[in-house]
Protein backbone atom coordinates (compact mmCIF):
# COMPACT_ATOMS: atom_id res chain seq x y z
CA UNK A 1 0.00 0.00 0.00
CA UNK A 2 1.38 3.40 -0.94
CA UNK A 3 0.36 6.63 0.77
CA UNK A 4 1.57 10.02 -0.38
CA UNK A 5 0.94 13.62 0.49
CA UNK A 6 2.38 16.92 -0.67
CA UNK A 7 2.36 20.63 0.10
CA UNK A 8 4.10 23.85 -0.81
CA UNK A 9 5.92 25.86 1.78
CA UNK A 10 7.19 29.42 1.46
CA UNK A 11 10.77 28.65 2.35
CA UNK A 12 13.96 27.89 0.46
CA UNK A 13 14.61 24.26 -0.34
CA UNK A 14 17.86 24.25 1.67
CA UNK A 15 16.01 25.18 4.84
CA UNK A 16 13.40 22.44 4.37
CA UNK A 17 16.14 19.92 3.60
CA UNK A 18 18.06 20.87 6.74
CA UNK A 19 15.03 19.83 8.78
CA UNK A 20 13.84 16.67 7.03
CA UNK A 21 17.35 15.26 6.81
CA UNK A 22 18.19 15.82 10.48
CA UNK A 23 17.54 12.62 12.46
CA UNK A 24 17.56 14.60 15.70
CA UNK A 25 14.45 16.46 14.55
CA UNK A 26 12.47 13.60 13.06
CA UNK A 27 10.25 13.24 16.12
CA UNK A 28 9.47 16.97 16.00
CA UNK A 29 7.47 16.69 12.80
CA UNK A 30 6.88 13.04 11.86
CA UNK A 31 3.42 12.44 13.25
CA UNK A 32 2.74 8.99 14.72
CA UNK A 33 6.44 8.17 14.81
CA UNK A 34 7.39 7.14 18.34
CA UNK A 35 11.02 6.29 17.69
CA UNK A 36 13.64 7.48 15.22
CA UNK A 37 17.06 6.61 16.57
CA UNK A 38 20.36 6.40 14.78
CA UNK A 39 21.62 2.82 14.71
CA UNK A 40 25.35 2.62 14.19
CA UNK A 41 28.04 5.26 13.83
CA UNK A 42 26.77 7.06 10.75
CA UNK A 43 24.26 9.76 11.75
CA UNK A 44 23.06 10.64 8.23
CA UNK A 45 23.71 10.18 4.52
CA UNK A 46 23.44 7.17 2.29
CA UNK A 47 23.84 3.97 4.30
CA UNK A 48 22.80 5.55 7.61
CA UNK A 49 20.51 3.30 9.62
CA UNK A 50 17.70 4.23 11.95
CA UNK A 51 15.45 2.30 14.24
CA UNK A 52 11.99 3.70 13.63
CA UNK A 53 8.53 2.92 14.93
CA UNK A 54 5.15 4.33 14.00
CA UNK A 55 1.98 3.80 16.01
CA UNK A 56 -0.73 2.25 13.87
CA UNK A 57 -3.73 0.70 15.60
CA UNK A 58 -2.67 -1.53 18.46
CA UNK A 59 0.98 -1.73 17.56
CA UNK A 60 4.08 0.32 17.03
CA UNK A 61 5.29 -0.98 13.71
CA UNK A 62 8.54 -0.35 11.94
CA UNK A 63 11.99 -1.75 12.44
CA UNK A 64 15.47 -1.02 11.23
CA UNK A 65 15.57 1.17 8.09
CA UNK A 66 18.48 2.17 5.90
CA UNK A 67 18.90 5.30 3.80
CA UNK A 68 19.15 4.18 0.18
CA UNK A 69 18.95 7.54 -1.56
CA UNK A 70 20.52 10.75 -0.33
CA UNK A 71 20.71 13.64 -2.79
CA UNK A 72 20.78 16.97 -0.94
CA UNK A 73 18.63 19.01 -1.10
CA UNK A 74 16.14 16.96 -3.12
CA UNK A 75 15.81 13.28 -2.25
CA UNK A 76 15.91 11.34 0.99
CA UNK A 77 14.66 7.76 0.77
CA UNK A 78 14.87 4.74 3.05
CA UNK A 79 13.87 1.13 2.96
CA UNK A 80 13.36 -1.44 5.70
CA UNK A 81 16.05 -3.88 6.72
CA UNK A 82 14.02 -5.63 9.44
CA UNK A 83 10.38 -5.41 10.54
CA UNK A 84 7.46 -4.87 8.22
CA UNK A 85 8.33 -4.05 4.63
CA UNK A 86 8.36 -0.31 4.10
CA UNK A 87 9.79 2.42 1.93
CA UNK A 88 9.74 6.09 2.72
CA UNK A 89 10.76 9.18 0.77
CA UNK A 90 11.01 12.90 1.26
CA UNK A 91 11.03 14.56 -2.18
CA UNK A 92 11.78 18.28 -2.33
CA UNK A 93 11.61 20.49 -5.39
CA UNK A 94 11.97 24.24 -5.92
CA UNK A 95 8.59 25.76 -6.76
CA UNK A 96 9.33 29.31 -7.71
CA UNK A 97 11.28 31.93 -5.85
CA UNK A 98 11.76 31.03 -2.19
CA UNK A 99 9.15 28.28 -2.33
CA UNK A 100 9.51 24.53 -2.01
CA UNK A 101 7.23 21.69 -2.98
CA UNK A 102 7.44 18.85 -0.44
CA UNK A 103 6.20 15.35 -1.04
CA UNK A 104 6.18 12.61 1.60
CA UNK A 105 5.63 9.01 0.51
CA UNK A 106 5.24 5.87 2.59
CA UNK A 107 4.77 2.39 1.17
CA UNK A 108 4.22 -0.57 3.47
CA UNK A 109 3.11 -4.17 3.58
CA UNK A 110 4.08 -7.65 4.68
CA UNK A 111 5.22 -9.89 1.84
CA UNK A 112 3.66 -13.33 1.97
CA UNK A 113 0.86 -12.38 4.32
CA UNK A 114 -1.85 -13.14 1.74
CA UNK A 115 -5.42 -11.91 1.97
CA UNK A 116 -5.09 -10.84 5.61
CA UNK A 117 -2.13 -8.68 4.69
CA UNK A 118 -4.19 -7.11 1.91
CA UNK A 119 -7.03 -6.40 4.32
CA UNK A 120 -4.75 -5.08 7.07
CA UNK A 121 -2.99 -2.71 4.67
CA UNK A 122 -6.32 -1.16 3.71
CA UNK A 123 -7.62 -1.00 7.26
CA UNK A 124 -4.40 0.75 8.32
CA UNK A 125 -4.44 3.16 5.36
CA UNK A 126 -6.56 5.94 6.94
CA UNK A 127 -4.28 6.05 9.97
CA UNK A 128 -1.12 6.11 7.88
CA UNK A 129 -2.64 8.74 5.58
CA UNK A 130 -3.43 10.85 8.63
CA UNK A 131 0.17 10.46 9.85
CA UNK A 132 1.50 11.53 6.44
CA UNK A 133 -0.69 14.62 6.18
CA UNK A 134 -0.11 15.69 9.76
CA UNK A 135 3.64 15.20 9.29
CA UNK A 136 3.53 17.60 6.35
CA UNK A 137 1.57 20.14 8.38
CA UNK A 138 3.95 19.86 11.31
CA UNK A 139 6.89 20.23 8.95
CA UNK A 140 5.33 23.39 7.53
CA UNK A 141 4.94 24.86 11.03
CA UNK A 142 8.50 23.91 11.91
CA UNK A 143 9.89 25.48 8.74
CA UNK A 144 7.93 28.70 9.29
CA UNK A 145 9.08 28.83 12.89
CA UNK A 146 12.68 28.34 11.74
CA UNK A 147 12.29 31.13 9.21
CA UNK A 148 10.93 33.53 11.83
CA UNK A 149 13.86 32.68 14.06
CA UNK A 150 16.33 33.30 11.22
CA UNK A 151 14.72 36.64 10.34
CA UNK A 152 14.76 37.74 13.98
CA UNK A 153 18.41 36.78 14.24
CA UNK A 154 19.16 38.74 11.07
CA UNK A 155 17.30 41.82 12.38
CA UNK A 156 19.08 41.53 15.71
CA UNK A 157 22.41 41.32 13.88
CA UNK A 158 21.56 44.33 11.66
CA UNK A 159 20.36 46.56 14.52
CA UNK A 160 23.71 46.90 16.37
CA UNK A 161 25.43 47.54 13.03
CA UNK A 162 22.96 50.38 12.23
CA UNK A 163 23.22 51.93 15.70
CA UNK A 164 27.02 51.92 15.61
CA UNK A 165 27.06 54.13 12.48
Amino acid sequence: MRIAGSMQVAAPIELVWSIVSDPERALDFMHGVTRWETAGDQPSGQGARYRMLMRVGSAEVGGLVEVVEWAPPCEFAWTSVTGVDQRGRWRLRQAGRGRTRVEFRLAYGVAGSGIWGWVAERVAAPTVKDHVHRSLEQLRRLVEQEQRRERAATRAGAAPAASSR
Partner: protein, 317 residues
Amino acid sequence: MATTATGSRNGHDARAPAPAPPPAEDPGRPTSGGSSLLGRVLRELAEQTQRRIPRADLDERDPDYIRERLPQLWLAASIWYRGEVRGLGNIPDTGPVLLVGNHSGGNMTPDTLVFTLAFSSYFGVERAFYQLAHNLVLSMPWLGFLRKFGTVAASPANARKALDSGAALLVYPGGDYEVHRPSWQGSRVDFGGRKGFIRLAIEQNVPIVPVVSIGGQETAFFLTRGERLARLLALDRVFRLKVLPISLALPWGVNVGDMLGHIPLPAKITIETLPPIDLREEFGPDPDPSEVYDHLTRIMQDTLDALASERRMPLLG
Protein backbone atom coordinates in the same frame (compact mmCIF):
# COMPACT_ATOMS: atom_id res chain seq x y z
CA MET B 1 -5.41 -18.77 21.44
CA ALA B 2 -4.96 -20.70 24.64
CA THR B 3 -1.65 -20.06 26.20
CA THR B 4 -2.20 -20.71 29.82
CA ALA B 5 0.86 -22.06 31.45
CA THR B 6 0.37 -24.63 34.08
CA GLY B 7 1.78 -28.01 34.78
CA SER B 8 5.30 -28.82 33.85
CA ARG B 9 6.66 -31.96 32.30
CA ASN B 10 7.90 -33.23 35.64
CA GLY B 11 4.75 -32.27 37.44
CA HIS B 12 6.22 -29.45 39.49
CA ASP B 13 4.63 -26.10 40.07
CA ALA B 14 3.14 -25.05 36.73
CA ARG B 15 4.98 -22.14 35.21
CA ALA B 16 7.10 -22.10 38.22
CA PRO B 17 10.35 -23.60 37.08
CA ALA B 18 12.07 -24.47 40.32
CA PRO B 19 15.46 -25.99 40.83
CA ALA B 20 14.17 -27.88 43.85
CA PRO B 21 14.61 -31.67 43.95
CA PRO B 22 11.72 -33.67 42.52
CA PRO B 23 9.03 -34.73 44.94
CA ALA B 24 8.85 -38.33 45.98
CA GLU B 25 5.53 -38.63 44.20
CA ASP B 26 4.98 -37.16 40.80
CA PRO B 27 1.56 -35.50 40.92
CA GLY B 28 1.38 -35.65 37.16
CA ARG B 29 0.90 -39.39 37.24
CA PRO B 30 -1.95 -41.29 38.78
CA THR B 31 -0.67 -43.10 41.80
CA SER B 32 -3.71 -44.10 43.72
CA GLY B 33 -5.83 -47.09 43.03
CA GLY B 34 -2.92 -48.71 41.18
CA SER B 35 -4.56 -52.10 40.87
CA SER B 36 -8.16 -51.00 40.41
CA LEU B 37 -9.71 -50.70 36.98
CA LEU B 38 -10.21 -46.97 37.45
CA GLY B 39 -6.58 -46.58 38.51
CA ARG B 40 -5.34 -48.45 35.45
CA VAL B 41 -7.56 -46.42 33.14
CA LEU B 42 -6.34 -43.17 34.68
CA ARG B 43 -2.72 -44.28 34.43
CA GLU B 44 -3.14 -45.25 30.79
CA LEU B 45 -4.91 -41.96 30.01
CA ALA B 46 -2.15 -39.97 31.69
CA GLU B 47 0.54 -41.83 29.78
CA GLN B 48 -1.29 -41.35 26.49
CA THR B 49 -1.62 -37.65 27.24
CA GLN B 50 2.06 -37.33 28.10
CA ARG B 51 3.05 -39.09 24.90
CA ARG B 52 1.06 -36.60 22.84
CA ILE B 53 2.91 -33.61 24.24
CA PRO B 54 5.50 -32.57 21.69
CA ARG B 55 9.08 -32.21 22.82
CA ALA B 56 10.01 -28.59 23.30
CA ASP B 57 12.21 -27.35 20.57
CA LEU B 58 13.12 -23.70 20.58
CA ASP B 59 14.10 -24.02 16.95
CA GLU B 60 10.46 -24.46 16.00
CA ARG B 61 9.97 -20.73 16.41
CA ASP B 62 9.79 -19.31 12.90
CA PRO B 63 10.35 -15.54 12.47
CA ASP B 64 9.10 -15.54 8.87
CA TYR B 65 5.90 -17.31 9.90
CA ILE B 66 5.35 -14.75 12.67
CA ARG B 67 6.00 -11.83 10.29
CA GLU B 68 3.48 -13.19 7.81
CA ARG B 69 0.87 -13.58 10.57
CA LEU B 70 1.37 -10.07 11.96
CA PRO B 71 -1.44 -8.60 9.82
CA GLN B 72 -3.91 -11.13 11.25
CA LEU B 73 -2.78 -10.42 14.78
CA TRP B 74 -2.89 -6.71 14.10
CA LEU B 75 -6.45 -6.88 12.77
CA ALA B 76 -7.65 -8.90 15.75
CA ALA B 77 -5.81 -6.75 18.27
CA SER B 78 -6.70 -3.41 16.71
CA ILE B 79 -10.29 -3.96 15.62
CA TRP B 80 -11.68 -6.65 17.93
CA TYR B 81 -9.82 -5.82 21.14
CA ARG B 82 -8.80 -2.17 20.49
CA GLY B 83 -5.58 -3.21 22.18
CA GLU B 84 -3.38 -0.67 23.86
CA VAL B 85 0.09 -1.61 25.05
CA ARG B 86 2.05 0.89 27.10
CA GLY B 87 5.62 0.99 28.32
CA LEU B 88 7.28 -1.43 25.90
CA GLY B 89 10.34 0.79 26.20
CA ASN B 90 10.74 -0.59 29.74
CA ILE B 91 11.81 -3.93 28.29
CA PRO B 92 15.60 -4.04 27.88
CA ASP B 93 16.49 -3.78 24.19
CA THR B 94 18.79 -6.79 24.31
CA GLY B 95 19.52 -9.81 26.44
CA PRO B 96 17.42 -12.36 28.27
CA VAL B 97 14.46 -11.09 30.25
CA LEU B 98 11.64 -12.77 32.13
CA LEU B 99 8.31 -11.15 31.33
CA VAL B 100 5.80 -11.96 34.05
CA GLY B 101 2.15 -11.38 33.27
CA ASN B 102 -1.23 -11.76 34.90
CA HIS B 103 -3.45 -13.96 32.80
CA SER B 104 -7.05 -13.51 31.75
CA GLY B 105 -9.69 -14.61 29.27
CA GLY B 106 -10.00 -18.37 29.66
CA ASN B 107 -8.45 -20.53 26.97
CA MET B 108 -8.84 -17.75 24.37
CA THR B 109 -6.38 -15.46 26.11
CA PRO B 110 -6.53 -12.10 24.37
CA ASP B 111 -3.73 -10.62 26.48
CA THR B 112 -1.23 -13.05 24.93
CA LEU B 113 -2.39 -12.21 21.42
CA VAL B 114 -2.20 -8.45 21.96
CA PHE B 115 1.15 -8.62 23.74
CA THR B 116 2.72 -10.97 21.17
CA LEU B 117 1.78 -8.55 18.40
CA ALA B 118 3.09 -5.57 20.34
CA PHE B 119 6.38 -7.26 21.25
CA SER B 120 6.98 -8.65 17.76
CA SER B 121 6.30 -5.37 16.00
CA TYR B 122 8.19 -3.25 18.55
CA PHE B 123 11.36 -5.35 18.74
CA GLY B 124 10.99 -7.10 15.39
CA VAL B 125 10.27 -10.76 14.81
CA GLU B 126 14.01 -11.31 14.71
CA ARG B 127 14.27 -10.95 18.48
CA ALA B 128 13.75 -14.37 20.06
CA PHE B 129 10.60 -14.40 22.16
CA TYR B 130 9.12 -17.48 23.79
CA GLN B 131 6.01 -18.09 25.81
CA LEU B 132 5.42 -20.93 28.26
CA ALA B 133 2.10 -22.70 27.86
CA HIS B 134 0.19 -25.54 29.43
CA ASN B 135 1.21 -28.96 28.15
CA LEU B 136 -2.35 -29.65 27.09
CA VAL B 137 -2.42 -26.56 24.89
CA LEU B 138 0.56 -27.80 22.93
CA SER B 139 -0.85 -31.28 22.57
CA MET B 140 -3.93 -29.99 20.69
CA PRO B 141 -3.31 -30.71 17.00
CA TRP B 142 -5.12 -27.57 15.84
CA LEU B 143 -2.91 -25.39 18.02
CA GLY B 144 0.35 -26.67 16.57
CA PHE B 145 0.92 -23.28 14.96
CA LEU B 146 1.60 -21.82 18.40
CA ARG B 147 5.00 -23.53 18.42
CA LYS B 148 5.96 -21.42 15.41
CA PHE B 149 5.17 -18.35 17.49
CA GLY B 150 7.64 -19.56 20.10
CA THR B 151 5.21 -21.21 22.51
CA VAL B 152 6.83 -24.05 24.42
CA ALA B 153 5.54 -26.38 27.14
CA ALA B 154 5.91 -24.98 30.63
CA SER B 155 8.81 -26.69 32.34
CA PRO B 156 11.89 -25.54 34.24
CA ALA B 157 14.15 -27.03 31.57
CA ASN B 158 12.43 -25.18 28.74
CA ALA B 159 12.47 -21.92 30.65
CA ARG B 160 16.19 -22.22 31.36
CA LYS B 161 16.91 -23.17 27.77
CA ALA B 162 15.04 -20.14 26.46
CA LEU B 163 16.78 -17.71 28.82
CA ASP B 164 20.18 -19.32 28.22
CA SER B 165 19.69 -18.60 24.53
CA GLY B 166 19.33 -14.89 25.36
CA ALA B 167 15.62 -14.77 24.56
CA ALA B 168 12.76 -12.89 26.15
CA LEU B 169 10.48 -15.34 27.95
CA LEU B 170 6.85 -14.67 28.81
CA VAL B 171 5.40 -16.60 31.75
CA TYR B 172 2.02 -16.48 33.41
CA PRO B 173 2.58 -17.77 36.93
CA GLY B 174 -1.18 -17.82 37.60
CA GLY B 175 -1.74 -20.07 34.56
CA ASP B 176 -5.02 -21.98 34.35
CA TYR B 177 -5.80 -21.05 37.95
CA GLU B 178 -5.78 -17.33 37.25
CA VAL B 179 -7.07 -17.37 33.69
CA HIS B 180 -10.36 -18.98 34.70
CA ARG B 181 -11.05 -16.84 37.77
CA PRO B 182 -14.61 -15.50 38.00
CA SER B 183 -15.31 -12.36 36.00
CA TRP B 184 -15.99 -10.36 39.15
CA GLN B 185 -12.35 -10.99 40.11
CA GLY B 186 -11.13 -9.60 36.79
CA SER B 187 -9.09 -6.87 38.46
CA ARG B 188 -7.23 -9.21 40.77
CA VAL B 189 -3.69 -10.52 40.31
CA ASP B 190 -3.78 -14.12 41.52
CA PHE B 191 -0.66 -16.23 41.04
CA GLY B 192 -1.90 -18.78 43.55
CA GLY B 193 1.34 -18.47 45.56
CA ARG B 194 3.49 -19.87 42.73
CA LYS B 195 7.06 -18.63 43.08
CA GLY B 196 9.10 -20.93 40.88
CA PHE B 197 9.48 -18.22 38.26
CA ILE B 198 11.24 -16.05 40.84
CA ARG B 199 13.72 -18.82 41.65
CA LEU B 200 14.29 -19.14 37.92
CA ALA B 201 15.04 -15.42 37.55
CA ILE B 202 17.45 -15.57 40.50
CA GLU B 203 19.17 -18.66 39.18
CA GLN B 204 19.49 -17.28 35.66
CA ASN B 205 20.27 -13.76 36.91
CA VAL B 206 17.81 -12.12 34.54
CA PRO B 207 15.61 -9.10 35.16
CA ILE B 208 11.88 -9.49 35.67
CA VAL B 209 9.59 -7.18 33.71
CA PRO B 210 5.99 -7.18 35.01
CA VAL B 211 3.30 -7.12 32.33
CA VAL B 212 -0.13 -6.12 33.63
CA SER B 213 -3.24 -6.51 31.53
CA ILE B 214 -6.92 -5.82 31.95
CA GLY B 215 -10.03 -6.63 29.93
CA GLY B 216 -9.52 -10.34 29.32
CA GLN B 217 -11.99 -11.42 31.97
CA GLU B 218 -14.72 -9.49 30.16
CA THR B 219 -14.46 -11.63 27.01
CA ALA B 220 -16.91 -14.13 28.56
CA PHE B 221 -18.81 -14.40 31.81
CA PHE B 222 -16.59 -16.65 33.90
CA LEU B 223 -18.57 -18.22 36.74
CA THR B 224 -16.25 -20.61 38.54
CA ARG B 225 -12.90 -22.36 38.22
CA GLY B 226 -14.55 -25.69 39.06
CA GLU B 227 -11.66 -26.93 41.16
CA ARG B 228 -13.74 -29.49 43.04
CA LEU B 229 -15.21 -30.77 39.81
CA ALA B 230 -11.72 -31.20 38.35
CA ARG B 231 -10.64 -33.20 41.40
CA LEU B 232 -13.80 -35.30 41.29
CA LEU B 233 -13.17 -36.23 37.66
CA ALA B 234 -9.45 -36.84 38.32
CA LEU B 235 -8.49 -34.25 35.72
CA ASP B 236 -5.70 -33.05 37.97
CA ARG B 237 -4.10 -36.49 37.85
CA VAL B 238 -4.67 -37.29 34.19
CA PHE B 239 -4.24 -33.96 32.45
CA ARG B 240 -2.63 -31.90 35.24
CA LEU B 241 -5.67 -29.69 35.12
CA LYS B 242 -6.49 -28.21 38.49
CA VAL B 243 -9.66 -26.59 37.19
CA LEU B 244 -12.75 -27.40 35.14
CA PRO B 245 -14.04 -23.88 34.53
CA ILE B 246 -17.65 -23.05 33.87
CA SER B 247 -18.57 -19.88 32.01
CA LEU B 248 -21.25 -18.33 29.84
CA ALA B 249 -19.64 -17.85 26.47
CA LEU B 250 -20.39 -17.73 22.77
CA PRO B 251 -21.38 -19.84 20.91
CA TRP B 252 -21.98 -22.50 23.58
CA GLY B 253 -24.07 -20.70 26.15
CA VAL B 254 -22.96 -22.68 29.20
CA ASN B 255 -19.34 -23.55 28.52
CA VAL B 256 -17.84 -26.31 30.65
CA GLY B 257 -14.11 -26.81 30.45
CA ASP B 258 -13.52 -24.32 27.61
CA MET B 259 -11.60 -27.10 25.84
CA LEU B 260 -12.87 -26.06 22.42
CA GLY B 261 -12.41 -22.41 23.22
CA HIS B 262 -15.12 -19.86 22.66
CA ILE B 263 -15.80 -16.70 20.70
CA PRO B 264 -14.41 -13.97 22.92
CA LEU B 265 -16.45 -10.82 23.36
CA PRO B 266 -14.71 -7.73 21.95
CA ALA B 267 -13.47 -6.30 25.24
CA LYS B 268 -10.87 -3.57 25.15
CA ILE B 269 -7.52 -4.95 26.25
CA THR B 270 -5.06 -2.61 27.92
CA ILE B 271 -1.57 -3.78 28.83
CA GLU B 272 1.04 -1.91 30.80
CA THR B 273 4.67 -2.99 30.95
CA LEU B 274 6.47 -1.87 34.09
CA PRO B 275 10.16 -1.02 34.59
CA PRO B 276 12.49 -4.01 34.92
CA ILE B 277 13.35 -5.39 38.36
CA ASP B 278 16.95 -6.44 38.88
CA LEU B 279 16.44 -8.86 41.75
CA ARG B 280 19.97 -8.73 43.19
CA GLU B 281 20.13 -4.97 42.88
CA GLU B 282 16.83 -4.49 44.68
CA PHE B 283 16.78 -7.45 47.09
CA GLY B 284 20.45 -8.10 47.79
CA PRO B 285 22.84 -10.84 46.68
CA ASP B 286 20.57 -13.63 47.93
CA PRO B 287 16.98 -12.52 47.25
CA ASP B 288 14.18 -14.12 49.23
CA PRO B 289 11.58 -15.44 46.73
CA SER B 290 8.74 -14.71 49.14
CA GLU B 291 9.82 -11.10 49.53
CA VAL B 292 10.16 -10.72 45.76
CA TYR B 293 6.76 -12.36 45.26
CA ASP B 294 5.06 -9.98 47.68
CA HIS B 295 6.71 -6.95 46.06
CA LEU B 296 5.94 -8.08 42.51
CA THR B 297 2.31 -8.97 43.12
CA ARG B 298 1.83 -5.70 45.02
CA ILE B 299 3.13 -3.47 42.22
CA MET B 300 1.22 -5.49 39.64
CA GLN B 301 -1.96 -5.21 41.70
CA ASP B 302 -1.44 -1.44 42.11
CA THR B 303 -1.05 -1.09 38.34
CA LEU B 304 -4.09 -3.27 37.71
CA ASP B 305 -6.11 -1.13 40.13
CA ALA B 306 -5.03 1.99 38.23
CA LEU B 307 -5.97 0.39 34.90
CA ALA B 308 -9.33 -0.69 36.38
CA SER B 309 -10.04 2.85 37.55
CA GLU B 310 -9.55 4.08 33.96
CA ARG B 311 -12.29 1.79 32.67
CA ARG B 312 -15.69 3.33 32.54
CA MET B 313 -17.69 0.54 30.93
CA PRO B 314 -17.30 -3.24 30.73
CA LEU B 315 -16.22 -4.35 27.23
CA LEU B 316 -15.90 -0.79 25.95
CA GLY B 317 -13.10 0.05 28.34
